[in-house]
Structure formats: C-alpha cells, structure tokens
C-alpha cells in the first residue's frame, strides 16, 4: 500500500484563553489521489484543522504529516507540497490576473522575479498561456482581477494553486459566496483537474451535497469526529432504520410488545429500532390489530441535520 498523502494523529488545538478545544483529538488519513471531505457545521473546527495542516497555526498536541513531511518540523517542505484555496478570495483585485499568477510562481521558486511580463522566461509565458486557454481567459490575463466574476476568480485561484504541482490541494469552503451556476462550473472544473492530474483534494464544507461525491467523508462537530468513511459507510453509521406501528387498542399492543420482548419507545406511535431485525418477523408475531405500519429509512441529510441541531 502506498503511503498516505495526509496523515493526522490525535490532533488537538486549544486557542489561547479558550475553555474548550477547537479541535479535539482527531485522526484520519487520506490516500494519494483521494477526494477527501471534512464536513461539519460552522464552528466545528474545519478551518482550524486546515490552518494547522497548512502550517499557519501550531497544534496544541498531536501530529500530522503531509506527503511524508512533518507539519511542525518541515514546514517549508509541507508548504512546497500543498496548494490552498482560502475561504476569502486570495487575489489582489487591483493587479492583473497574470501578476497574481506571476507573484505566486516566484514565491514558490518556479521562476526568477522580473518586473514585467514581457521579460519573464519563455517557459513561464507558455505555462500562463496554456492555463489561460484552459480557462478561456486568453484575452483577460492582462486585466485587473476586479473585472472578473466570482466564479472566474475561483478558477484563477485553483489554476494558480496547481502551478507548483502540489501533492494535495486544500479547499476551505470554496463555494461560499458563489451563485449556483458558478458552483456547478467550479465542481466540473475540479473533477476535471482530478481526472487529468490525479491531484489529491482535501475539501472542507458545510454543504452535505458537496460531500456526496467524495471518496472519504469525515463529519466533524465541536472539534470531534462523529463519523468517518465512504459516504455510504457514514450513512450506515449515522442512520438507523426503524419501524413505526400503532393500534386502536394501545394498552393491548403495549403488553404484547413487552411479552414478545421487543424494545420500543412510545410517543405518538410505537417506535421500534430494527437493529437489523427482520420487519416481517416482528409484524407476524403481533396479534393485536394494527392501525399503522410504517418503516422509516432516514437520509444522510436527516442524520447530518441531527448533528447540526445538537451543536
């Protein structure tokens, strides 16, 4: 098995002066090429986690490795190997698209610094024009970013973050503030990037639907991991199928259920958690005439909303 691209072990962060841990002993690992989603409500600890993994914040305890580099001891190597899309736009709006890209390229040591585009090395110019063509921005690279739409800015940021060929691309709630159409184009573009380059993607989001296409989902709440695995596994962990029954003769039904040793909770009707038990078997055993029989199979969204409500 190949080494994971992101390995997190018992990571904990308590901000100075805070009473509770913002991130509370989380562990997970992300394999190369995987699409990983950290899902959780606002304030769950997603941005804190991403800040620690991208070396802008020190953890209180625990360890993490990115592409084999320790986040505390090998910060420079970690930074060289990651690309980041921040929650807030990270572009200089008064500068041109090309300048925003050029500054990034120089800071990552890809090219020497030159004050004008025309004096930059040929390889750089070629890379920029290829990227511009990919985005359909051939004639826009010399224009200030403030003239770009929100969706175009996001695309420009993604392109820029891939310039130094990072092993893993972090996206911190990249779609907040985008209209539905820009959101969709962004996802289409991202999946193309993943297909063509095999880039590992580490996404944080509070939208469930954005997590559904992931290879691995980690649901985090109040700094702790609540559920972890493929979207299907997470659903199985979080949701429970149950049976609802009721009768005109409630007392009789209640006695019968007790006699049959079926666990239930009584509210407006009788709720029986199935725990994998066969519905038919239960129904067959009951002799009291039933006025209601209903099985309920909650969606992942129901489960996720439960989590958010608790916080």
């Amino acid at each position: 098995m190949t080494q994971p691209v992101v390995e997190v072990e018992n990571l904990t962060k308590r901000y100075r002066g805070a009473k509770e841990n913002a991130v509370d002993g989380i562990s997970f690992s992300v394999a190369a090429g995987e699409f990983f989603t950290l899902l959780g409500p606002n304030g769950a600890g997603k941005t804190t986690t991403i800040s620690i993994l991208t070396t802008t914040l020190n953890a209180t305890s625990g360890a993490a490795r990115i592409v084999g580099h320790d986040i505390r001891r090998e910060q420079s190597a970690v930074r060289q190997n990651i690309g980041i899309i921040f929650q807030q736009p990270s572009l200089d709006f008064n500068l041109t698209a090309e300048e925003n890209i050029r500054f990034h390229a120089v800071l990552y040591g890809l090219y020497p610094f030159r004050p004008a585009y025309s004096t930059m090395p040929r390889a750089y110019k070629q890379q920029v024009s290829e990227l511009a063509a990919l985005l359909g921005l051939e004639n826009e690279m010399g224009k200030p970013v403030k003239k770009f739409s929100g969706g175009m800015r996001r695309k420009l940021e993604i392109i820029r973050s891939l310039l130094h060929k990072p092993g893993v691309l972090f996206l911190d709630e990249p779609t907040s503030g985008l209209d539905p159409l820009s959101r969709r184009t962004l996802w289409e573009y991202l999946s193309r990037v993943r297909r063509e380059r095999g880039t590992t993607v580490f996404l944080t989001t509070h939208y469930l639907d954005e997590a559904e296409g992931a290879d691995q989902v980690c649901i985090i709440n109040r700094g702790r991991i609540v559920a972890q695995g493929s979207p299907d596994q997470v659903k199985a962990q979080l949701t429970e199928t149950y049976l609802l029954i009721d009768s005109q003769e409630r007392n009789k039904l209640r006695d019968e259920l007790r006699r049959l040793k079926v666990e239930f909770t009584e509210t407006a009707s009788f709720r029986i958690n199935l725990h994998g038990n066969d519905v038919q078997k239960i129904i067959k055993a009951i002799e009291t005439p039933l006025s209601l029989v209903k099985t309920h199979d909650p969606s992942l969204e129901d489960a996720y909303l439960e989590i958010i409500k608790e916080s």
């Binding site: 802008t56 500054f103 800071l107 610094f113 004050p115």
Partner: protein
Amino acid sequence: MREVYAVLTLAYRDLMKLLRDPARLISSLMFPLLFIVILGGSMQAALGSGSSFDYIAYIFTGVFAQTLFQSAAMGVISLIDDRENDFSQEVFVSPISRYTIILGKIVGETLVAMVQAIGVVAFGLFVGVRLSIAQLIGLGWSGIVTCLFGAAFGVIILSNLNNRRTADQVFPYIMLPQFFLAGVFNPMQSLPWYLDFLSRISPMRYAVDLTRDIFYIGRTDYANAIVQGPAYNLTLMAVVFLIFLFIGTFMFVRKEQNR
C-alpha cells in the same frame, strides 16, 4: 536566490498596489498637503514675516520625515490583518521564510513611502520652499533612512499586537504624541525636562532631526532648526533599528503560529 526574488516580488507588489489605486495615493497625500500648505502657509504668513524663522521650511522638513516614518510604520503594521486579506494569505502559506516576509514588507513599504515623498516635495515647492539639487539628493537618502527606521518601529509594534482592533486602538497613543514630541511643527530647543524626556524616547524625533540636519546644512538658521548633529542621529537610529528589527521579527514569527 529564491528568497531574494521573494523579497523583490513582495516589495514590487506593495508598490504596484499603491500605483494601481489612485484613490489611496491621493488620500495618503492629504495630510501632508494640509500640514504643509495650510498649516505651514498660515504660520509663515502670521508669524514668520516679522522674524527670521522660516516656518515653511521647518514644517516642510518635519512633515517630510513624519509622513515617511508613519507611512512605513503603518504599512508594516498592516501585516496584522494580512492573514485574512487578498494575496497576502498566499504569502503566509508560501514556502518562504517569515524573515523574508518581514524584509519584503520593509522594502515594499519603503518604496511606497518614497512615492509619497515625491508628492510631499511637490507641495513644498508649491508653497515656496527653495530646494537645491544637493538638498534634493540629501532628502532622498535621509528619506530612505527614515522609511527603514519607521518600518523597524512598525515591526516592534506589530510584534506586540494581536489584531486589527488593537492596532487601531493604539494608534493615537503611539503615533499622534510623536507628531508634537518629535518637533514636526514645533521647535524642540528649550523643553521642560519632562517633555524633553518624552521627546527623547520618541523614535520619530531622530528621523525628523536627521532630515533637518541634511536640509539645513550651510543655512544661516541651521542652529535654530536642529537639535543634534547628523552623526548622533544616524548612530542612534542604526542601533535602535537593529534592536527593533531583530527583537520585533523574532517575536512576530514566534507569535504568528501560537495563537
């Protein structure tokens, strides 16, 4: 080499951000304009005509140094909220050292302040300050020294701040008193001991005085305008610059990740 390119990139970015933003450029020249043209002009008209004291030249040189010192200091202090802003977020996660970031910021804010210096000199010429080529060159290098000194002052302040709110709150305490204790507008020759003490611990004073050392060389009113000679001011500024820079950078880098 890569860190050198990074410093150049960061500095160039700061300069371009100013030049592409005419509104910011104009507003940064608003205070020098008010001070030199209105304050200087009115002082000269009301008080200067009967005496030998050249108010216009005095206020011009004071405001020149104050503008550069303050611009460089506040520019460096702006690193406090850069982690959440525009391209600066990128800078903090890029694989360059934190020392390079500080250095790039210092060079960049020096360039930004020197652009403003051109405007300040233009105002001076407009209100009738006479400048020789030698004086202009002198102002050029004392201006750069002032910017670097102001930037180092910014680094030590920055290293003691936690967020933009506190930065805005401390501004009236760290900058405004220096306007008057540094002798930007008011002569510093015979101060009562307590004001003299406060003046001596105001870093801006040495930048203002150095600027006048250069500007007033060979003028008959040299002794009236300056407090200490250039050698004294330069030596003191060099020592304080190094102290502010090293302690400030060390503290900033350490604090940056231990939130």
